[in-house]
């Protein structure tokens, strides 16, 4: 039985919210909040339904013809619902957080409208079943993020927006060219087709390599792979929920997810290996991992450090692909979820420090653990996860990647992993040390840059709850990795589908 309504409704919920939010007046704060949260919950329910149906072996398809030979297709498959699940869960968290964060500020209607559009695009990206549909939502994501990046309307924000567009729109053009070339060569290729593009290998080797380079090159901009990462640290001027969205939920994830789709579902892993592009990808990812970490160490402000850490961490996903073995794949897929959970926690924390205490620089964080214990615990969990310490989720990923590297006999990757973990520790542990072991304003030494008492607890509870939740989930994803429907379990299911016919 095909439940075509299911992927469609999942997409339509968020799109409908966008329309409703834009139609409501700016002052209708309560109604907007209610609708936003309700839609987020409904979407989680819908995605859960989809997950259950996929687990039971049903893949629901919705499609219609756009032009001759090109269809618009939404399909719920294991990889897609994995990403959809991540985005819908984190949508709820970031929405709650954003409501608290933006309380009393201007232009909230615009913000939440485009925020929802952003998440709707993510769902579209997750469920797209061919490159054409994928491209539609991918570009929609670009456009809907721009108003969020420039939300503050300052000179700096507007400049960041311009840089963001320069990178992403150019990448969009490259991606479009690759897609058109592919369609001209092969026609409409569903991501679900088993054949891949192997048939074209003998006659069109050069063209296939070019298409791969164009597609992955275009996607690598949003993935923020070096040297195409320049927009990401600059986009840090956006409000904290937007950073969380950019880094954890939507934008960089969409890029990484796209690369996964291209390698596994479009070209097929065997063909990609045959073309020799996979090793190039692994090398580029390794370079990005190391370079991102080095730059992160050099940052003195908290958010840019986290931004460079994202540059580095997202490329683990790409590195996992590069190991072309089941373990590498599981690691890559699981990291897509794990990194999202941990990074969103870290950004929530950074936002809380900035809102409650006015902290932006790392050297202002001395002793903040006493003043904001929950935030600091969450930060510590996130940081440990990023370093890859057990039992946080990040450990699972690094473990699988390491095993995959050894199985593939790519020992240099192990070296990269070790080096990068060391570097991660070098830029995260000093912060953790400052939080807990140095005395600062909370111990009566000096004062916070700009302290506000936002709530009964250590800060506004709308800011606190989503952060605690994501921190717990990051921890849980590591502790209970063996349970069914954990990120790892689902990643293994996807990888099995890829490697076991």
């Amino acid at each position: 039985m095909n439940a075509a309504w299911l992927p469609l409704t999942a997409l339509a919920t968020s799109l409908l919210v966008v329309v409703v939010i834009f139609a409501l007046p700016e002052e209708a704060r309560r109604l907007r909040t209610t609708i936003n949260l309700m839609a987020a919950v409904v979407k989680i329910i819908l995605v859960t339904l989809m997950v259950r149906r996929v687990a039971a072996g049903h893949e629901d398809i919705f499609s219609f013809q756009v032009i001759g030979g090109v269809d618009f297709v939404l399909r719920s498959d294991a990889l897609g619902v994995m990403f959809a699940g991540l985005s819908s869960l984190l949508w709820l968290c970031t929405t709650i957080y954003a409501i608290g964060y933006l309380e009393g500020s201007a232009n909230r209607k615009r913000f939440f409208g485009f925020f929802s559009l952003c998440v709707a695009s993510t769902i579209g990206i997750a469920l797209a079943d061919n490159l054409f549909t994928f491209l539609i939502f991918y570009e929609m994501l670009t456009l809907s993020t721009y108003p969020l990046v420039v939300h503050n309307g300052t000179q700096q924000a507007l400049d960041a927006g311009r840089v963001y567009l320069r990178y992403t729109l150019s990448a969009g053009v490259v991606l479009l060219l690759g897609t058109v070339l592919l369609y001209s060569l092969t026609g409409d290729q569903s991501f679900s087709s088993e054949e891949g593009l192997g048939d074209y290998l003998n006659d069109h080797r050069g063209l296939l390599t070019l298409i791969f380079a164009l597609l992955v090159g275009g996607l690598a901009v949003k993935t923020a792979m070096v040297p195409l990462h320049g927009w990401l640290p600059r986009a840090m001027v956006a409000p904290a929920p937007v950073s969380a969205l950019l880094h954890a939920v939507a934008v960089v994830k969409a890029g990484a997810f796209g690369i996964l789709r291209v390698v596994y579902d479009l070209f097929g892993i065997e063909l990609s290996v045959e073309l020799g592009v996979i090793t190039a990808l692994a090398v580029a990812a390794s370079f990005t991992i190391i370079y991102g970490s080095l730059r992160a160490i050099a940052q003195e402000e908290l958010k840019p450090r986290l931004a460079y850490s994202t540059v580095s961490q997202v490329s683990y996903v790409i590195l996992g692909i590069g190991l072309f073995g089941p373990f590498g794949t599981v690691g890559a897929l699981a990291h897509l979820l794990h990194q999202g959970l941990m990074k969103v926690t870290l950004f929530f924390c950074a936002g809380n420090y900035a809102e409650e205490l006015g902290i932006h620089r790392i050297d202002e964080m001395d002793g903040a653990g006493k003043r904001m214990p929950l935030t600091s615990i969450a930060f510590t969990i996130g940081a440990f996860g990023m370093i890859g310490l057990p039992p946080v989720a990040g450990f699972i990923t690094k473990w699988y990647l390491g095993v995959g590297a050894i199985q593939a006999e790519m020992y240099w990757v192990v070296a990269v992993l070790v080096a990068s973990s060391t570097l991660n520790a070098m830029y995260f542990l000093p912060i953790v040390h400052r939080l807990w072991f140095r005395s600062g304003p909370a111990h009566g030494k000096g004062s916070w840059p700009k302290e506000q008492r936002l709530g009964r607890f250590e800060t506004h509870s709308w800011l606190l709850l989503p952060m605690v939740f994501t921190a717990l989930v990051s921890l849980g994803a590591g502790l209970f990795a063996g349970l069914p429907f954990s990120p790892l379990d689902w990643a293994a299911r996807v990888a099995n589908g890829e490697y076991l016919p």
Binding site: F22, F64, Q65, V66, I67, G68, V70, F72, A106, N107, K109, R110, F132, L135, I136, F137, E139, M140, T142, L143, Y146, P147, V150, N152, G153, T154, Q155, L158, G161, R162, L165, L169, S170, G172, V173, L176, L177, V180, L181, Y183, S184
Partner: protein
């Protein structure tokens, strides 16, 4: 190529109601325009009532075409053979004209009320009626003389509309436009005379049978091409366009940029596909000029400080997309698949641009009316105060940039595919460069709008519906992207 324009014999005779629908579609806009000059409507609702029968006639013709395929009408008036045809393409263009014309008419009462327009305002209505009727005639006409009559009527009425605002600058620009338009018509007429003298017939279908390549065909095509290119503002004959729009009233600009210049392009492609079906160089020259148009139009729009100039210059660049497609439509040895793709892409781009550009002119007009400023700097802070106008502008510009899922994207996709299959890489490059340039000037504008540090001004409130009309047009342009299948199917049907 000829059959794509519906120049062949029909299977069925049109039924009686279809005759009436045709009459209404051709005559009613004119009649209503006259009526409105006598009793100028102050509100939008009389205009709504008036546009219902016009639209209904268009829909009736659509359903008639849907049932019977190609329709033809013949009359013999005093020895002169007159004939009209209705194929999928002309139905689509007719409907597009009626929708955009209706929207512009709906927009007008509010606009005239809010801006000080002077005593000449009532003459806008009959001129608008003439333009719409003439356009409808052009989409249906099948002989050179009727085409000329339509073209001339439309051109003169358009000049009149553009000069109505009565400002000195408008008069100067309008006079220049008039001069050029007359020159264009004259050149066109020379070409027609050449054809008549040599082959002795003016009906397109008959002409297609007798025309053979040779100096006469080439010369006639060159004359007609030059005349129409001037009227269509094809690069490098576009310089008159910007000053004209700079000073015209908003609904006039919307009609002009969306429809009037497209009519000349339509005639150009139709006549060239008769006169030069296998020419190699002529379409390539157009395409190269198109490449330059994309770049030049984009640069003009990028560097300007005036909102209206931005919108008008973007038309120059967007027409470049259509020009670049010429070698895929005309010429020897074009494979059927890329030609079909290019044909679809060409018209989808034309329609998408028409709706989007009309919406964009209206949105720009709203912004200018509300802020009282016509420069980009004057828009600072509008994202907070005029979100809806800006949203309309944004949706329209998605189509112009050709980003998904708008019709601009689908059209570009079709054209790109055709170009890749026929390996015209420079054309691919032109389209992609065009996308980036368009994005550059569009987001330059948005950069001003999102500025939150700007001082606050008092804004004039807009009449109800002014934003909604523009929004509707923008959404049509947007929706044509994913729902392109139906109109494109319509254009393919009815092959002999």
């Amino acid at each position: 190529m000829i059959w794509r324009f519906g120049l062949f014999d029909s299977t069925f005779e049109p039924l009686l109601p279809t005759h009436w629908a045709l009459l209404v579609a051709l005559g009613l806009p004119l009649l209503l325009g006259m009526l409105a000059a006598l009793f100028p409507p102050k509100r939008a609702w009389p205009v709504v009532l008036a546009s219902v029968p016009v639209l209904a006639s268009g829909l009736m013709l659509l359903s008639a075409y849907d049932q019977a395929g190609l329709l033809r009408w013949h009359w013999d008036i005093a020895g002169v053979q007159l004939s009209l045809r209705l194929n999928g393409l002309s139905v689509l263009l007719l409907l597009m004209t009626q929708v955009i014309g209706g929207a512009a008419a709906l927009y007008t009462p509010g606009y005239l009320r809010l801006s000080e327009t002077g005593p000449l305002a009532r003459w806008l209505w009959p001129l608008m009626g003439v333009v719409l009727s003439a356009l409808s005639l052009i989409w249906l006409a099948t002989d050179l003389l009727t085409l000329y009559a339509g073209l001339e009527l439309m051109g003169l009425a358009a000049v009149g509309m553009l000069m109505l605002s009565g400002k000195v600058a408008a008069l100067v620009a309008g006079m220049r436009y008039l001069l050029l338009a007359l020159m264009g018509s004259l050149t066109y007429l020379l070409g027609v005379a050449l054809i008549l003298g040599h082959w002795g017939r003016l009906d397109l279908q008959g002409l297609a049978e007798v025309v053979e390549p040779g100096p006469v065909a080439w010369f006639a095509a060159a004359l007609i091409g030059a005349g129409l290119a001037l009227k269509a503002a094809l690069f490098p004959l576009h310089a008159w366009l910007t000053p004209v729009h700079e000073n015209a009233w908003t609904p006039v600009s919307a009609l002009h940029a969306a429809l009037v210049i497209k009519a000349s392009l339509f005639i150009l492609l139709q006549l060239w596909s008769i006169l030069l079906p296998d020419a190699f160089y002529a379409p390539r020259v157009i395409a190269w000029l198109g490449l330059l148009a994309i770049v030049w139009g984009g640069l003009l729009a990028w560097r300007t400080d005036s909102l209206k100039t931005l919108v008008a210059s973007s038309t120059v660049g967007q027409l470049g997309y259509l020009m670049v497609a010429f070698p895929l439509l005309l010429g020897p040895d074009i494979a059927p698949l890329p030609r079909a793709l290019a044909w679809e892409g060409f018209w989808l781009q034309l329609m998408g641009h028409a709706f989007a550009k009309a919406a964009m002119f209206m949105a720009a007009g709203n912004l200018i009316l509300a802020t009282g400023e016509s420069t980009l700097k004057g828009l600072a802070g509008t994202s907070r105060r005029l979100p809806l106008s800006l949203l309309v502008f944004g949706i329209a510009s998605i189509t112009l940039m050709g980003l998904p899922p708008s019709s601009g994207f689908t059209a570009k996709w079709l054209l790109l595919q055709a170009m890749v299959i026929s390996q015209q890489w420079w054309a691919v490059a032109a389209l992609l460069i065009g996308t980036l340039l368009t994005a550059a000037y569009i987001f330059r504008l948005f950069r001003y709008c999102f500025d939150e540090t700007a001082p606050r001004h008092r804004y004039q409130p807009l009449a109800p519906g002014m934003d909604l009309i523009a929004l509707t047009l923008a959404l049509i342009a947007f929706a044509l992207g994913l729902l392109a299948h139906f109109p494109l199917e319509l254009m393919h049907g009815g092959s002999p």
